[in-house]
């Protein structure tokens, strides 16, 4: 099944790659590596999930937010691939940042919101290395942020 068909099956419509909120670009390509900028849970141009996990955001909602971050990662990646996500050979690494207080310990299941979607969409090629950490705050009060390093095939 193509990646586009898989996305359709999952009921996901990728947005246009979000314009960065400052002086940078959404992705860069070097050889067959794509570096995707940290994506926050933007939807329709606004941050859809703000606040701190475990305080004003439940873990369940934060997991949805992480999935939305990954949808935005895929939008950037699609642009990097000239529109063809079938060129993704391996999602090498996801970095996950969870805005939460010092006593929070449940980062891993929240980041699975992004990781589960990555594996659901890309299958074996979506099995990624990962680093997840807690942070006190994120740009625009986002409750989480996800970045990626991806290997693609050359045209």
């Amino acid at each position: 099944m193509s990646i586009d068909a898989k996305l359709a099956e999952l009921g996901i419509t990728l947005p246009a790659a979000a314009a960065p909120i400052a002086n940078y670009v959404g992705y860069n390509v070097s050889g067959n590596l794509v570096v995707v900028s940290g994506q926050i849970p933007l939807k329709d141009g606004r941050v859809a999930f703000t606040g701190k996990v475990g305080v004003t955001v439940t873990p369940e909602v934060a997991k949805e937010a992480a999935a939305l971050c990954f949808i935005n990662v895929m939008a950037q990646l699609k642009a990097a691939c000239g529109g063809d996500l079938g060129r993704v050979r391996k999602v090498l690494r996801l970095g996950g940042f969870i805005a939460a207080p010092a006593d929070f310990t449940g980062h891993a299941p929240i980041m699975n919101g992004a990781s589960d979607l990555c594996v659901a969409v890309f299958g074996e090629a979506g099995r990624h290395a990962r680093t997840t950490i807690g942070v006190p705050s994120l740009p625009a009060d986002a409750c989480c942020e996800v970045e990626a390093l991806v290997e693609i095939s050359l045209d």
Copy 2:
């Protein structure tokens, strides 16, 4: 001296590469680059060093914890190398995350627990670039976490 002999000399027995605590893999390989997932101070399947540095964990103990993180990095790296750590050409970068309060400033000597071990084991090939930051919290209440990017030789 081989890396295995060096590890033996240092009294280090590498564990089996730890199973990730969520939906990701411990490492990925792209060309001659290995991306190692963030490793927490797991020992025998449990987090051996929890808490906050400077509050419930002394800097000395945290340095041990960082060394344990790097032992877990090496375990992943060995698996990535098909069991032969002699294939490590350069530890390009270590990322270090220290769980500590806002007034903490002693991150660098703690991360040296990982860095010193890296150089002791790999010699010149272990001289790495590094980024170390403080964080409010880490998965499973780990007091520190270490990730790596490594260049290896192809088979």
Copy 3:
């Protein structure tokens, strides 16, 4: 215009690449990729900008600090390029870390201190992907830290 001429036009004199404050190196090179270690706002051997943004450091001053971090990134990069910054083909990614309290939301404009300078110096080659996060604390009480991944041309 050469990069050196551009730096002169901007009134920037690059310092010697700062010696790391612990057991690591300022950069590593793998193929045509340069990994630059996290750089804090060191000037003349001391941390010129300490404290927390939004508490003891204003956003305006923090933006200056981020620019200084990037000056230190360029100093490392110049060393990695054997003195010739004209070999920079693409600044692939900047990572930005802003020491700030939990209620801080203005990370992006501060990190633009680094990003604006990157684009001013390198032009199209300076258009980078970026991840910016808040942190509770940084080594040596730095108020921000910047790391980089850069593609260079081979000699």
